[in-house]
Symmetry: C2
């Protein structure tokens, strides 16, 4: 079965799915670039694939398009179980999913293009304040992650024990977002330590936004 990924280098949700694919050893047969800076996501071609006009979308074989990064990653984990991206025990799974949702639900949706556009067009928020908005929610999430990761017994070399999980995927995408918005990550040493441990893994390194087609050569 062929795998097609609709992607954009800067999309943090796509970044998460790229990491999961790489960890599973799955290379998409086709990567379709949807340039969010040009509004490609609102075009008729992509509308037929993803009526929410959001990234990413994954098409696995002849199935309908799969959307929402966490739902896609859980699907990949269920259909390609090796290596697992969730622990086996329900409490561990709940901990990993809750760490992941702190990024993918509490923080990231506040800084996606449609929200920044609403702030600009409907509320007249100037660019500096829009950037401060993004930085605030990135820092809030990093601070909350740091507090949990530094205080909870479940933390190991990675977010949950010594195996990579969905939580690490989300943490790494959040740290990449911090880079885009020049948020200092020094106050979050556990987050930094885990992000560095991940970046030493080939699957994380190749999935990085700045290594994708269309990315600027400097951040």
């Amino acid at each position: 079965m062929s795998i097609k990924l609709y992607s954009f280098w800067r999309s943090l949700a796509t970044h998460r799915v790229r990491i999961a694919l790489a960890l599973k050893g799955v290379t998409p047969d086709e990567v379709v670039t949807i340039d969010l800076t040009k509004g490609d996501q609102h075009g008729a071609a992509y509308d037929a694939v993803n009526p929410m006009h959001a990234l990413p979308t994954l098409v696995d074989g002849d199935g309908p398009p799969l959307v929402q990064s966490l739902a896609i990653i859980e699907y990949l984990d269920e259909t390609r179980p090796d290596p697992p991206l969730l622990p086996a025990d329900p409490r561990g799974r709940a901990r990993v999913r809750s760490l992941a949702l702190m990024v993918a639900a509490d923080a990231h949706p506040l800084m996606v293009p449609r929200v920044r556009e609403y702030l600009e067009r409907e509320l007249g928020v100037p660019e500096a304040a829009r950037t401060a908005w993004c930085r605030h929610w990135i820092a809030t999430a990093l601070g909350a992650l740091e507090r949990r990761l530094s205080g909870e017994a479940g933390t190991g070399r990675f977010c949950h024990g010594d195996a990579v999980s969905l939580a690490d995927i989300c943490l790494v995408s959040q740290v990449a977002g911090a880079g885009f918005f020049s948020v200092d990550t020094t106050p979050y040493p556990s987050v930094r330590r885990i992000a560095e441990a991940c970046s030493a893994i080939e699957a994380f390194a190749t999935a990085h936004p700045l290594r994708q087609p269309g990315a600027p050569t400097t951040a």
Copy 2:
């Protein structure tokens, strides 16, 4: 094992967990009210339970507190599998989770208290524009749900076939949020139809925000 739920009548994330508990036939042994309108979530007592100062938190027996509504519901589904809240097939599970995330990640985090407070205090957005903001994201999510539910073959009596799932739980919480903000749901007939089918189920009816302690007698 005793179950303790930290709750507030108006919290839509807690609403979701209440529905799941009721569907599973689980009655919390203790419900602790965290009054979001009084800032109870920022108090020292709750900080020790949930350092993110968000609702809900579920404590199941002697385990550490469980946070993030979707992670809690998946945990409940794994530890109390009857009735299941996710279909058995990976594509069906991905569809249900993606519908759920359209509410719990794309829409709801944009209208929680901390975001409305930032709009007011940091950006000086007046009350009418803050309400318009909430209405906009509620309507955007309802429109996206409507488009998928009316167009996808997987939709049945409920969001996915004829059995209640995590997607219905999230849909119902979104419709409750529409009620709080007086968003007209007439343009979303599939959403309305499914919400009405859910409201005929006792577990959904008893979990409704307006039937919780502290709720106003009229919406």
